[in-house]
């Protein structure tokens, strides 16, 4: 990432326009252009001068070394900056307010700083010190063109970094770990995306699935939800991939972008460049990963994943700026002397000196320009606490009460433990994983670093290291047992990506092993691979023809695949005969939309062209019959009790007839209808063919648009065998005369109740025929005798339940007529009486 990418592209003239006329006059005077000319002339002359060699010569004459040093501050090149960066840096150098404002005034006067945004209530900016105090907090600036590169002349990297002895031993680049993680995680996420919560955090269960996949090097379908914490490498890899846009958020989940295949096939330096930019933009929490610090912000769920817009320090935007600042500092300091080892703390000191507020503000905005020093004691307290970060407790868990004094950090004395630790973390972990640096000595506290060849390529713009050719001249070995051994997996991710498409991955470590299987090969074909391309890829990797048995078997599998196809959602045009199809094929518009001919009057149509084909045929023939099998047929049939089905002849397309004829027999064609009949044999035939009673009922219900008549439905259910044999039992009904009460009361008498099987009406009980003598005796004991007789019709009449009555009254509360009708339907009222006057209010 070059810093120029962060610059605005507005021309100098537009930016000068934001200065007031008085300011323009002052700048013109300082730069020796016509100060008394009209504003437009002044602006034109300044625009022509600023950024030129003449401007540079003038600055070299006028600016002091300290003023040039101000122009090498790191934030000046990262993005539009506010003047507080100068005030903080000047205070750090011991200047008071007036001297600091004077320095800023001179930089403005000599055309070094150009505004990109004015301040509230200031359409134009004056540059006198009192005016700077007014708008200083808000206005944003950029360096004038070329000023940053001129300033480098006044800057000697040796002052900051002196080479040191190489460490023994060193921790080399960890790029292979990142490449392997990226490869495995992208493969796993292609299988199943990573869900993202509404707060923007990765789903914990999915993370554990990814950890399992990373541990094994293969798919993790059987190991989802394994317990354990998520290693930083998983967060880092996911965040970098998302930052590099190799993972995209779609439908609430992170899934691989289509460009991942090209990514793995690209040269390694290009891959690292993309991952480096991804890291700069990423949500990875480099600060949270520092083991020696505890944060007052406890985001247990977030782990090392930054939540966008969350209130915390440093926030996601600050970390992005800090990462770019560290990269920019490396490129400045190590240009021309890249191969030596340097102390990490020396580099951290440089970063801090050039960007004191890289992570935390040193002073509040209001105290910078608005108040005189000392007016509000503490506003500019140099011995200021880091309010959100502490030394990590020895136990490892944050507890505000445990030795808090010892763990408190101060910005003037402890910055090397905070900002310095961040630089150490970035170099020793993130940049090492990206393959940009190596550190040493190995262990938890490396103290020196140097750029790798890859780091020099990405950060200093040197030539990319040449890829190492495999010693054997082949990247993989295809063995007679169908195993493919990739010798150096870390340098062959392009090949691994191809093998993943058509072979089963077994292991992935320094070497990777794959198994050629028919299932995997078919999966590859379904994804667009062809037989010749698979053979070509394997032979190229093998550096020789494939073992004979492997080649024969692959050819056989390829042939089997290519000789049979299953089109699951094809579009087919059928015409009245071959002549009509010939006529349609001859149509120039239609002919190019039609595909392969399957029969004399049948031709395939690409789904995307289906609407155009239908429209053109309708134009030519005036009519077309459209049938979409993804929709259920509706309203095309009628059911005639007890067992007949009538189908509109016009709708009798082949599939509907096929479905119907699996369980019904065509009896006749009458007029515009086809008549089918179901019987026990036809329905049994349907069941034997795999159709269930439910499927038959569903088809008929949808096609008729109504529930099946009871008689028809009963026959269909019974003939399909869906209804077991009905059970019968002879029961005797015993009717009580009104004088004896109701059976619900009598059955409470245990001696009687034990005989009662059911009470279908208040005065009728059913008793098993075999037990009639038993209840007869019990009734006799109580003075009641039984006489055999035919029961009257109303003996089984059920009186309305109270709940029914209540619900009717509630439903029709404001409609007396409806209440009357309901009472009548429940048998409570014999006649509907006329409403009396006065019922309505």
């Amino acid at each position: 990432m070059t810093l120029a990418q962060t610059r605005t592209s507005r021309p100098v003239a537009q930016r000068l326009e934001l200065f007031s006329s008085a300011a323009i006059k002052q700048i013109a005077t300082a730069l020796g252009t016509a100060a008394s000319a009209p504003r437009s002339t002044q602006l034109r002359q300044l625009t022509e001068l600023i950024g030129t060699q003449r401007h540079r010569e003038l600055l070299e004459r006028e600016l002091s070394a300290d003023e040039w040093a101000m122009l090498t501050l790191l934030p000046l090149e990262l993005a539009p900056f506010r003047l507080r960066v100068f005030m903080i840096a000047l205070w750090e150098r011991g200047l008071n307010d007036l001297a600091a404002l004077g320095c800023i005034h001179r930089l403005l006067s000599f055309g070094c700083l150009l505004p990109v945004q004015t301040a509230w209530n200031h359409s134009k900016l004056g540059i006198e010190t009192n005016e700077v105090q007014e708008w200083g907090i808000q206005a944003a600036f950029e360096l004038a063109p070329s000023v940053a590169s001129w300033a480098q002349k006044y800057f000697a990297s040796e002052e900051w970094l002196t080479p040191v002895e190489p460490p023994e031993p060193a921790s080399a680049s960890a790029l292979p770990n990142l490449q392997r993680a990226a490869f495995v995680l992208l493969g796993e996420l292609a299988r199943k995306p990573l869900r993202v919560t509404s707060a923007g955090l990765p789903n914990k269960t999915d993370l554990r699935r990814l950890v399992a996949a990373l541990t094994s090097g293969g798919p993790a379908a059987k190991r989802e939800g394994a317990p354990g914490s998520v290693p930083p490498l998983v967060y880092f890899t996911l965040a970098v991939l998302a930052g590099a846009e190799l993972l995209r958020l779609e439908g609430g989940g992170l899934r691989p972008d289509a460009q991942t295949r090209e990514f793995f096939a690209a040269p390694e330096a290009q891959q690292v460049q993309q991952l480096f930019i991804g890291w700069c933009r990423s949500r990875f929490d480099d600060f949270g990963a520092i083991p020696t610090l505890s944060s007052a912000y406890i985001f247990e769920d977030a782990e090392l994943w930054m939540i966008e817009n969350a209130y915390r320090q440093p926030n996601a935007q600050q970390l992005l700026t800090a990462r770019v600042a560290v990269a920019e500092a490396l490129s400045r300091l190590l240009k021309g002397r890249p191969d030596a080892w340097f102390r990490i703390d020396s580099f951290a000191t440089y970063v801090y000196q050039k960007f004191p507020e890289i992570l935390f503000p040193r002073v509040e905005d209001y105290a910078i320009f608005y108040f005189q020093p000392g007016l509000y004691p503490g506003a500019r307290n140099p011995h200021r606490k880091y309010t959100t970060v502490y030394r990590a407790p020895s136990s490892g868990s944050f507890d505000a009460g445990a030795g808090i004094e010892d763990r408190t950090l101060y910005q003037d004395t402890d910055w090397l433990e905070v900002e310095g630790a961040f630089v150490r973390q970035v170099l020793g972990a993130s940049m090492r994983l990206l393959g940009l640096v190596e550190v040493g000595p190995s262990g938890p506290a490396p103290d020196r670093f140097r750029l790798t060849a890859m780091g020099r390529a990405v950060l200093l713009g040197e030539a990319a290291p040449a890829p190492q050719a495999p010693a054997t001249g082949r990247t993989a070995i295809v063995q007679p047992n169908f195993e493919v051994l990739v010798l150096d997996a870390a340098r062959s991710f392009g090949l691994l990506g191809q093998l993943d498409a058509f072979a089963e991955r077994r292991t992935l470590d320094r070497a990777a092993t794959y198994q050629l299987t028919r299932t995997a090969l078919v999966r590859g074909f379904d994804a667009g691979w062809t037989g010749p391309r698979v053979i070509e890829t394997l032979e190229a990797a093998n550096g020789a023809p494939l073992p004979q048995n492997v080649r024969y078997t692959l050819d056989e599998w390829i042939q089997l695949y290519e000789r049979l196809s299953l089109r699951e959602a094809a579009t087919l045009l059928e015409t009245d005969g071959p002549e009509e199809l010939e006529r349609l094929l001859a149509d120039p518009k239609l002919g190019r939309l039609l595909g392969m001919r399957l029969g004399p009057s049948l031709v395939l149509v690409r789904s995307a062209a289906a609407v155009a084909v239908a429209a053109r045929i309708a134009e030519i023939t005036g009519e077309i019959h459209g049938v979409d099998y993804s929709q259920s047929p509706q309203g095309l049939m009628r059911i005639r009790e007890p067992d007949r089905i009538e189908l509109d002849a016009a709708a009798a397309e082949p599939y509907l007839r096929y479905r119907l004829e699996t369980f019904a027999t065509l009896q006749a064609t009458a007029g515009d209808r086809l008549r089918y009949q179901i019987d026990s044999d036809s329905v049994s035939r349907g069941v034997a063919g795999g159709a269930s009673a439910k499927q038959m009922i569903d088809l008929l219900s949808e096609a008729t648009g109504a529930a099946l008549p009871p008689e028809f439905r009963l026959r269909l259910l019974a003939w399909s065998g869906a209804v077991p044999a009905l059970k019968t039992e002879a029961l005797v009904a015993i009717a009580l005369p009104p004088e004896a009460g109701e059976w619900e009361e009598l059955r409470l008498i245990p001696a009687l109740g034990r005989y009662v099987r059911a009470v279908p009406g208040p005065r009728v009980a059913l008793v098993a025929a075999s037990e009639i003598d038993g209840i007869r005796e019990e009734l006799l004991v109580r003075g009641l005798s039984l006489s055999e007789a035919e029961l009257p019709e109303n003996a089984f009449q059920v009186e309305p339940a109270k709940s029914d009555l209540k619900s009717s009254l509630l439903e029709f509360a404001d409609n007396p007529n409806a209440i009357r009708r309901a009472l009548k339907s429940l048998g409570i009222l014999a006649e509907v009486e006329s409403p009396r006057r006065g019922w309505y209010r």
């Binding site: 028919r518 579009t571 099998y629 002849a649």
Partner: protein
């Protein structure tokens, strides 16, 4: 008259004349195609017939699109690995 929706847009209105065939456009149809007529006959005899709606040509049949899982399972049982497409 049959009007059916289509994901690409609305079909032009179509009028069906009773007793007279008109061009028909079927979408979302399931079709099995083999390289040769004999091979298709073998597949039909081996169990594909059970899912076949009609023969379309010497080497192709329309199969029941609602029973595709069973068709795929049949191919698997027969050791066939067909090219499966959505077209």
């Amino acid at each position: 008259m049959v009007q059916l929706g289509h994901p690409e847009g609305d079909w032009p209105s179509a009028k069906i004349r009773v007793g007279e065939y008109v061009p028909a456009l079927y979408s979302h149809m399931a079709i099995v195609e083999s390289a040769g007529e004999g091979e298709l006959d073998e597949l039909l005899a081996a169990g594909l017939q059970r899912f076949t709606v009609r023969r379309l040509g010497p080497t192709s049949v329309q199969v029941d699109h609602q029973r595709l899982p069973e068709v795929r399972k049949l191919f698997e049982r027969l050791g066939q690995t067909p090219r499966i497409t959505n077209e």
